[in-house]
Subunit: 136 residues, 2 copies
């Protein structure tokens, strides 16, 4: 069995804020939406159905934890969850806080426009709030 | 507790092909992509994290079953899974078979262009194959 190595594009486009039982929980560097990315720390997995049943349950509960925290911290209208992987094949799950009137609302975030960077203070404040909500 | 009633837009845009333990499994009427929609038969639920933990696990296993069947039947390059709900708030999960060069590849399917209807024969053949793959 080969070891888990994070995909280079995921590494450059997001920052780890927590490591859970299964996943590396990462914040997207795109400030347009509060956007977390869960990367199961398993090598050579592209599809959710390739995970073991136990890992699928762990992933489900980590998505649940992250979604609820993101909703609590942002007060979002709707949480969007997606596992696409058409470009980056390493399995990763997007959990995004959407609010009415945000960029491309009510359409999807993927492939829309250009990423906008966070200001350091805003990113650090969001990460602190998320870590607190995730630690409950 | 109120009873589950299928959202009107989901009803008009898709056709039920199977009822699983938790979800109504529906085929989208848009022929551009082989596209299934899982609707948990629970009233007044918008977010996955509002389901009970047991229902979340059921949903996970039904997504797994449907994803593997869709991959087997279509030979797709990548399965796309999404729970958005920005327009239709009743909880529903998209499971879509994507292939290189399909409409809007490698972008997402949501909000792209106009739906194209199935020919009856093509739809019936796909439904028959999916039901067979789902019944294993």
């Amino acid at each position: 069995m080969s070891n888990f190595v994070l995909d280079r594009r995921l590494e450059s486009d997001s920052t780890s804020i927590m490591v859970a039982g299964l996943c590396d929980v990462r914040l997207s560097k795109d400030a347009r939406w509060p956007w977390l990315i869960l990367v199961p720390r398993r090598a050579d997995v592209t599809e959710i159905f390739e995970l073991t049943p136990l890992d699928q349950v762990l992933l489900t509960f980590e998505i649940d934890l992250v979604s609820a925290a993101l909703k609590k911290v942002t007060g979002a209208t709707k949480i969007n969850i997606g596992a696409l992987g058409n470009i980056v094949r390493q399995l990763h799950v997007h959990v995004i806080a959407r609010s009415e009137g945000d960029a491309n609302w009510p359409g999807p975030v993927w492939g829309f426009g250009r990423a906008e960077p966070y200001r350091d203070a805003a990113r650090n404040e969001l990460i602190a709030k998320l870590r607190e909500a995730l630690s409950l």
